[in-house]
């Protein structure tokens, strides 16, 4: 008996997930819970067992079309998360300045952590949420170019193997092979941590450097724009709109490069920043 999960909203990418296997279904439901919506779904992902080299062999489909070749059960969450991210980016970029960034908030003001992969975005974001900050996203910050407010995309946080030792309490229940990412529902970090849309109060560019001193380096607004543009998905598609929005963000929110040598030091530094004072 298949169960239909959802609908879920990922920046306007509204979908359901149909899955036949109870345990996997419960795990997917927990992982996607924070994306729950009452909007009308536009497409369906389905996860179904198929014959393969192992008993737990599944196929992930999107509206009936295979997303990936069949895979073992422990990889289904990763590939579903990947497919949802792609859909969110495709959907969200139409109306928003969309940056490859994590986002957290405190006292109604958002902090954008923008950086390329492997820079410490999700790790810093997870540490801040654990420390009491609200969660917006760990993958794609969508900023309305008219209002400069961040639209929440509270997907499960994807914690890479190299950072998992920092969050042993977040190990997922679904068995996973070593060297695999963790898909961590935000409520697992702290219940009630997901927030809705907020204005941007601070721009951070995390840069993990092993052995470095953790510090904040101020950037000029123009330097911030150059860095943020590199993190903007499909900047070139709407350069005038995107540049104007980035410039306005950089005029209104201070920007720092956050050099991270240790997570706890980074969290302390961000906690002590005086900029998040609501106007």
């Amino acid at each position: 008996m298949a169960m239909v999960l959802g609908p879920y909203d990922a920046l306007g990418h509204v979908f359901t997930v149909t899955v036949a296997e109870d345990r996997l279904g419960e795990c997917i439901a927990r992982t996607l819970e924070a994306l729950g919506t009452t909007c009308q779904p536009r497409l369906e992902y389905s996860v179904a067992a198929v014959p393969g080299p192992r008993p737990d062999w599944y196929e992930l489909r999107r509206d009936g079309e295979p997303v990936m070749p069949a895979m073992e059960g422990s990889l289904v969450l990763d590939w579903l998360a990947w497919a949802v991210n792609q859909g969110a980016i495709e959907s969200g970029r139409q109306q928003n300045l969309l940056m490859h960034a994590a986002g957290v908030a405190r006292d109604g003001l958002g902090v954008v952590l923008a950086a390329p992969m492997e820079s410490g975005k999700t790790t810093t974001c997870t540490g801040l949420v654990r420390d009491g900050w609200s969660y917006l996203t760990d993958e794609a910050v969508a900023v309305d170019p008219a209002t400069l407010r961040v639209r929440a995309f509270p997907k499960a946080l994807t914690i890479d193997p190299g950072s998992q030792f920092l969050f042993p309490e977040l190990r997922p229940e679904l068995p996973s092979s070593s060297g695999q990412k963790w898909q961590v529902p935000p409520h697992s970090i702290r219940p009630g941590c997901v927030t809705t849309d907020v204005p941007v109060g601070l721009l951070l560019l995390p840069a993990y450097r092993e052995g470095a001193s953790t510090e904040l380096q101020p950037l000029t607004p123009a330097q911030a724009v150059m860095e943020l543009a590199q993190c903007t998905f499909f900047f070139i598609e709407q350069p005038e709109r995107n540049l104007a929005a980035l410039a306005q963000l950089a005029r209104t929110a201070p920007c720092y490069r956050l050099v991270i040598g240790a997570l706890d030091e980074a969290v302390t530094l961000v906690n002590e920043l005086p900029h998040l004072v609501s106007a």
Binding site: T220, P221, A222, Q223, V225, M226, A229, I236, P239, E240, L243, A244, A247, A250, R251
Partner: protein, 114 residues
């Protein structure tokens, strides 16, 4: 060869998207699909290259603004202008058009229907 001389009149290339942020400028150059950041005197020079004055006059304004040695500023502005032309951020206007106070963009405007 950019053909940029002290008497040249330069203006921003068409289609640029320019954002002024404090004393710096960020420019989107669509032909090369590139962003450029200009700071300090380079930002000031770029902003002044609006097709209204020859480079030598721009250099005088910058020298006065920065209280700098005029001959050195003339040299630096000329070099910078050549770089900006090379990057496609500014382009020389023809003397005839600028003397008449008409830019190429004006010349190329189609006639308005009555």
């Amino acid at each position: 060869m950019t053909g940029v001389e002290p008497t040249s009149v330069l203006a921003h290339a068409p289609g640029l998207v320019v954002e002024v942020l404090d004393s710096e400028v960020v420019v989107w150059e669509p032909a090369a699909a590139q962003l450029h950041r200009l700071d300090g005197p380079a930002a000031l020079t770029f902003e002044l290259l609006d097709g209204s004055e020859p480079l030598e006059r721009t250099a005088e304004v910058i020298a006065a603004t920065l209280d700098a040695e005029p001959a050195q500023v003339r040299h630096d502005v000329l070099e910078l202008a050549r770089q900006l032309v090379g990057l496609g951020l500014v382009r020389p206007l023809s003397a005839a058009r600028t003397v008449a106070g008409v830019t190429e963009g004006d010349v190329l405007q189609p006639p308005q229907d009555a």
